[in-house]
């Protein structure tokens, strides 16, 4: 997903002279490629995220479409005021590419875990927040970033994640994709997920379907603007809604879904369970998958949470 995203920036730069690239301090081979493929419009600016975001704003004010790339925690937490004021207040077409969203940097500890990036980006007016599930979907998405008005936060996963998306439904920023609909006699569950949590949710469905539980998987690649229409349409009449995200349960996809349902299905909000990272800094290291397991986000754990949720609902 990460190489695909960066490759797409270079491809877009070749076809559109408005595209600029700003890195901070990642990946020296990238610098070489940038100089070759987009001479004069590619910058490696050093570990200076506040400046980098302001500089991107300045370039955008002059008509450019800057893609800014660095580690997710640093492009969100470190320069939050610059993102809010320089990008969002001016509503500028800057694309923030956050490398290693969620638990990707598990071995490096809490300083590098972007567990609240979606929440804090989502809180800003004019910001669009996108978290695709694999490299193929990234390609489809990146083509649409050229002319999208306003800033976008692009959350990257680890890279080389399994391909689970399909070209058929296409891709539209702000439009959810139903990845699977499997009816069953023992209840009707809507699972809403984003990013690579969708991959885990899809893997959980087979076991649930084998149990006779009807499941719909809605991939909410765009957390903001949320596809409220699709959400409400599928939520109506379900026994249980489960949100799954590699992100704190405070303010992310689960919160966005809850907000939308409370506003749009007054008095008729189905039972809702939010799976994600608890409100605490990580206490363990290991791999991304290790921490996913610690937080109950691996497929068998998701399946069990759905079963538990249905049982509670029935009780």
């Amino acid at each position: 997903m990460r190489p695909t995203c960066i490759d797409k920036v270079f491809e877009l730069a070749k076809r559109d002279s408005r595209v600029a690239y700003i890195g901070s301090d990642l990946d020296p081979p990238l610098t070489r490629r940038m100089r070759e493929e987009m001479p004069g419009r590619a910058f490696m600016e050093g570990v200076s995220e506040q400046h980098v975001v302001g500089m991107a704003a300045g370039l955008a004010m002059e008509g450019f479409i800057p893609y800014v790339h660095t580690i997710a925690t640093f492009i969100t937490r470190r320069c939050y005021e610059q993102v809010a004021v320089d990008l969002c207040l001016h509503n500028l077409p800057v694309r923030l590419i956050g490398n290693g969203g969620g638990l990707v940097y598990a071995p490096l500890g809490p300083t590098h875990l972007a567990i609240e990036d979606i929440a804090i980006m989502r809180a800003l007016p004019n910001m669009t927040v996108v978290s695709v599930c694999d490299a193929e979907e990234m390609k489809r998405f990146m083509d649409q970033t050229l002319d999208w008005p306003g800033p976008i936060y692009i959350r990257l996963a680890k890279g080389y994640d399994p391909i689970v998306s399909h070209p058929e439904p296409g891709f539209e920023i702000g439009k959810a994709i139903v990845m699977r609909e499997a009816p069953g006699p023992r209840g009707r569950v809507l699972i809403v997920s984003t990013g690579v949590a969708t991959t885990r949710a899809l893997a959980a469905v087979d076991a649930l379907v084998a149990d006779g539980i009807g499941c719909t998987i809605m991939h909410m690649h765009t957390v903001k603007p949320l596809d409220t229409d699709a959400l409400v349409r599928h939520a109506r009449g379900t026994d249980l809604i489960v949100t799954v995200e590699e992100h704190t349960v405070l303010g992310g996809l689960g919160s966005a879904v809850t907000d939308a349902l409370v506003e749009n299905l007054p008095g008729a909000v189905p039972a809702l369970k939010r799976l994600g990272i608890p409100d605490a800094f990580a206490k363990k290291y290991g791999s991304q998958d290790d921490l996913m397991e610690v937080y109950g986000l691996q497929p068998p754990q998701i399946a069990q949470s759905v079963r538990d949720g249905l049982r509670c609902h029935a009780a």
């Binding site: 506040q50 400046h51 955008a60 450019f64 320089d86 207040l89 001016h90």
Partner: protein, 283 residues
């Protein structure tokens, strides 16, 4: 109570404010009267800097604020916006009567300038330390486009406490942005007191030289000196320019000069407005 701030060697204690400088200050007072609040000291120190920029240096078209070839003037110390508002009114970006609406509910003129609302304002500022990174980006963008337009960024002295200013300074120097000129309104008093006590900036010129800028210092109330120095930018064709403008906080209002208590005032009553007009009358 006024702070004991010594004049810089660059400052001529005998420089008199001329009629235009007094008129511009009266317009600031008019807006303060309209809004019943505002950053008094921070605007008054900035008047001659903004005056010379708009009267003598900047290329712009008031009827076409987005004219592509205009020079970009970014007031990074957004709290000094009254000094910019009066110049924009003087130059015809909007009528003088708009000054009377300062900070009112439906006004285009807020306590900090917003690009979306005010013709001639290039960037919404107020949060400090944002203007220089934006200015670097704009100068880079103009260079890519092959434009001859220049970028002027005006910062406060307290403002350059912000680390983002120094990040941007490194970048401006790395990119040899000679089209970029930074002006520091060095009135030596920030919101909480003298800069020398809060967070000393000295040796200020040496710091900017070390960061790769070509540096000049000027009396920021001496109109002729400002014209001379601004007409000579860039000082070096391979380096960005930096002008330390030695100013007096609250300049022109004797009772408010060098006094951090006059950084900002709210609930401004008519008697204070009269006091400000009287002080200007006495000059």
């Amino acid at each position: 109570m006024a702070t004991n701030v010594a004049l810089s060697a660059r400052q001529d204690p005998n420089v008199q404010l001329d009629k235009r400088s007094i008129l511009l200050r009266r317009l600031v007072v008019r807006a303060l009267d309209g809004g019943a609040r505002g950053h008094i000291g921070s605007s008054m120190s900035l008047i001659e800097i903004m005056r010379v920029l708009y009267d003598d240096i900047l290329r712009f078209r008031a009827v076409e604020p987005d004219w592509e070839e205009r020079d970009r003037c970014i007031l990074s110390k957004g709290h000094g916006c009254l000094a910019q508002y009066v110049m924009l009114a003087e130059k015809g970006f909007f009528p003088h009567a708009v000054l009377d609406t300062f900070c009112r509910r439906d006004s285009i003129l807020g306590g900090h300038p917003e690009a979306e609302k005010v013709p001639g304002v290039e960037a919404s500022t107020g949060a400090l330390g944002h203007g220089l990174p934006i200015g670097v980006g704009r100068a880079m963008g103009l260079r890519i486009k092959g434009s001859k337009a220049r970028v002027f960024v005006i910062t406060g002295d307290g403002e350059i406490n912000e680390g983002s200013v120094w990040e941007a300074a490194l970048s401006a120097s790395k990119h040899r942005l000679s089209s970029l000129t930074v002006m520091i309104d060095y009135n030596k008093v920030q919101s909480a007191g003298p800069t020398a006590e809060i967070l000393d900036l000295e040796p200020l010129g040496d710091k900017w030289r070390a960061f790769g800028f070509a540096v000049a210092e000027v009396d920021g109330h001496d109109v002729e000196a400002l014209r001379r120095v601004l007409r000579s930018v860039p000082f070096d064709r391979d380096r960005p320019s930096l002008i330390i403008c030695h100013t007096v906080k609250g300049k022109g209002l004797g009772f408010a000069e060098n006094d951090a208590n006059w950084h900002h005032k709210s609930s401004i009553k008519k008697d204070l407005v009269e006091q400000m007009y009287d002080a200007l009358e006495a000059l």
